[in-house]
Symmetry: D2
Subunit: 328 residues, 4 copies
């Protein structure tokens, strides 16, 4: 099957979902090796680099793509299977950003406080030990943490003519910022426009659930993925399958609505897999679901619902697509 390698030039980076011409066409079944720039567009590189001085707010969270998937039509399901996520630099970076984040007044939670202090933390990445090192800015606290590479942003072009900033998580995917989007995961997205026009970006070497300060350990990433297409079956909201988990992601505000969306999407999935009545599905998620928060900082908040396959009867979501991709 085809393999495609692609590293965008700075001019080729995409800043939106929708509104951008496809950078190339790919056939279903294609393996791709893609390079992704970090969310700061590579502009924050030392503790002295402050976002308010380095960043152009219209040029953050650059995406690699969009890719036109041949044969994809509205109502189809795009499957993106992440084979490998490999940090592409030996450092990552996180910062606070004025009036952005979960524990500060923001443009939406508009308050009369001045901005919190702006701080930049540079993390060294050790590719042998696969760890990152946190060094406190205001004391000598220092600790190593395992790297857990993930993609903050995976999405397709939105419906209804809209063009959305790559900072937004929505039905079309986008900036969901969930650690579940890691190597070994298959992401299912409903196709809204011919060709699907998917993009990926926002590599995180590590991220806590909620992404409290608004940024993870941001870093450029080499991503190996396989593109597949399922005719029909478009889920209403993004779904993720891992070897051990079925996952749905909801994004909205307030946070309880993001959670509700993910719960209802999962109940729908249970009905598809097991013919389970919705009230019985409601009971299953009530007793079985894990519900880690993804982000409480983006234009929509994102909430994840996970069910362990081991506690459900055997079933083949999308005719066994995930297993197929894992073994291909």
């Amino acid at each position: 099957m085809d393999t495609v390698e692609f590293t965008p030039t700075p001019e080729q980076l995409a800043w939106t979902f929708g509104g951008v011409e496809p950078i190339m066409k790919v056939k279903p079944g294609t393996t791709m090796r893609l390079w992704c720039e970090d969310a700061y567009a590579g502009r924050v590189r030392s503790p002295a680099d402050l976002p308010s001085q380095c960043i152009d707010i219209n040029q953050v969270n650059p995406q690699t793509g969009p890719f036109h998937v041949e044969g994809a039509e509205p109502g189809d399901t795009l499957a993106l299977h992440f084979v490998e996520l490999e940090p592409a630099r030996d450092w990552g970076v996180s910062t606070t950003i004025p009036f952005f984040g979960g524990l500060t007044g923001t443009d939406r939670t508009a308050l009369l406080h001045g901005a919190l202090p702006e701080v930049t933390w540079i993390y060294q990445y050790d590719s042998v030990r696969q760890s990152v090192t946190f060094e406190a800015a205001r004391s000598d606290f220092r600790v190593d943490w395992p790297a857990e590479p993930m993609l903050g942003t995976v999405g397709v072009a939105p419906p209804a003519r809209e063009v959305r900033s790559s900072l937004v998580p929505e039905r079309f995917g986008g900036n969901m910022d969930t650690p579940e989007l890691k190597a070994g995961a298959t992401c299912y997205l409903g196709v809204n426009v011919p060709g699907a026009l998917f993009s990926i970006g926002d590599g995180h070497y590590r991220q806590g659930e909620g992404e409290a300060c608004g940024t993870a350990v941001e870093g450029a990433m080499n991503v190996t993925l396989i593109v597949e297409l399922i005719k029909g079956g478009a889920p209403l909201w993004p779904r993720i399958e891992q070897d051990d988990w079925l996952i749905a992601v909801g994004s909205s505000r307030p946070l309880e609505d993001a959670w509700r969306i993910a719960q209802v999407e999962m109940i729908t999935w249970l009905a598809e897999l097991y013919g389970l009545d919705r009230m019985d599905g409601y009971q299953v998620v009530s007793q079985l679901a894990k519900a880690p928060i993804a982000n409480v900082v983006d234009a929509n908040y994102s909430s994840v619902v996970k069910l362990p396959k081991a506690l459900l009867p055997a079933a083949s979501a999308y005719d066994g697509m995930h297993r197929h991709l894992r073994t291909s």
Copy 2:
């Protein structure tokens, strides 16, 4: 050290935090063996028992207590260490309840829909295999799940003369409905009134994060716990310590505020343990926190923030109280 056994009579059950005379006095260091009735007050026992017909809304979620802890003064910290939680019946029960739950219109999210169907699911508990069996109400779907006993409700009397229903999670603890309150956990609560006046109840044989339909696998529980008192040091919001995790619980609406509370409480805890500046603490939770939702159904929603001890320098919260209680 003393051991106390107590099984309340129906007349001795408490329905509020605050507003109830202590059922007994206990000394710090006491081990207690307590029996807790289920949240339905034992009134729902078969699939034919519907909550709207069986339940008195003023008599739900009964608590065992309150217990007066000798020497406890406002500003002190009550430590409750859960040694063992053992299902006290061979069945548990979950139901939908009209206009209560996370995926229905409620008394607060007041809408024009009629109530969802009222359904009662009885779960058999197998004490040998330590499992519960789910049987769908509307198909022949049937599956066993491991029992994971926990307490939905642990709290002390509130401050400022208030008396709160046992359905409410708040600063004083109460109906937090987090699966983290399980055997091996130590719960730290700020004392608001002399004697602390703690109560426990709402045994769950198993519960998903979020408790979507509003009820877990509810069941009577035998609880073995150790009571300890720390002079001073009252946390603003409930904290939980397990062998591997530091945990804070926030409760409010909307859900993002519950999450914010738990995040800030954890940053305060990091400052206490490591002298970490709050901006550095903000960074630590941003990259390290797990953030499972506890409940999105109660009078306040509850959100948990967890940090893995293994990824932090060694530290002794409350002078090693948890380790002391684990080994006592």
Copy 3:
């Protein structure tokens, strides 16, 4: 008919709804002349008095009452008609309070900001011109505004054994902080306990909708009211009737839930008054309702829905109780 005058001593002030013995019994039909202390308990009297130094957080928003209404039983409707609200001092006061208010981080919207500046504004009240004078703290801006006396807090004892701080607005009324509670208004409250046990307080010489900074022009108030009792008919949430308006008040978080509650309560009222189907009632509020926000600062937020009587067919709410009280 009886007339009762009552000015509480400092020891007689009530700080909660529920949990307090009635200060006296009154018969339905009684006219009462009551004196109410201001929400600061009279402790903030000059620009140099800062709340954080003057106030005991357990002694704020004192209430005059509770009064036991003879014959009132759970399920009945208490009608309180406000005949006159007269400022009892020649000054009022407003302040910011650390971590309290609508445009600051709070105990619930927990953030990492330090507190906003603490400022006290003293307003002179001119009883002849019935105006208050605002003087800016940080410039020489100065302007007179009409006094528009209202009561921030009107309520009865809560159900289900609860005792709630006088800072809380809820189903039982309480700290709703709506400017609609002014002279000429009749407030209908569902009775939860024998005798109803109503209290009033929190006089405002003037308040903007939302009460943004958390405090109005707070001032002691002389209140003349008539107490009436309607057997049965308890509304689910507080209703207010004025000569020209039907009003419902919802209180919860987030603010949209407070609004939903008030809308649904009004649709219920339309069904009672006109036999209007709920879908038709939904349409009436959609095209006719005014929806001023009451408060976005208290333990619950409060939202008001108002319908103009002039645009509805003639009807007699509660058998013409308001008209009866206006002319009695």
Copy 4:
């Protein structure tokens, strides 16, 4: 000065803000007479027309425009003064729409309820009496209400390459659904792209605050407006000036965030007009603001804050632009 008349053909209707080529260029100072189709695109015309059968969800809320304003640059302020709004048909229409509205489960507040009943109400418009007639669908309740024509949607192209559905209210204006946008009002919008690219639409013959069921008395509208341009001074969020009121509109979720945005925008405006310190401005809005809810049904909720000019010192916003336009 120029006068322009324009009635779009169906093919010329715009469905988004941004992403559409300008339909014409206009000079600042131009008076325009524009025809606007109703939000149903004219497809719902009798009680038998149900939205789920008549409407293409990608073709709702059509806009007249966009118009390129000569000389407008990012950072400038577009002033649109509404001289006259005249119903263009002798009937208007409102409906419920499945899973859309304030008192139903929605795509965001995702619940397990089935849809509320779908109902269409046709209102006759009497141009002589300037009234609309409500006829209940499920009883013989019938009542006349004054027409109060307004525009639900007024906006410019968004920043940062985005294209947004005309259903969205945001910083760029859009579907705010506030009754304040009526004849005699001047709307100030920050310009994001060269030419501003403004559009208008969504005529309402009458609307309650909140727009509870999701639709007003929708109707085609003839709009006379004057376009003006102010160099610089772009407000962060939409502002409206009327003869008697200064108004700011915030749009977000949850509703309290929309309110916060509008409050802070108004405090900023007070600082511009009077040099008022932000803490003093906080006090002014606390005691003086009206806060009617605009909508609790759209993609963002909208909240209005209003200050009465009569209770503030004389001032000239935007160098007296509103007065100039009122008298031109």
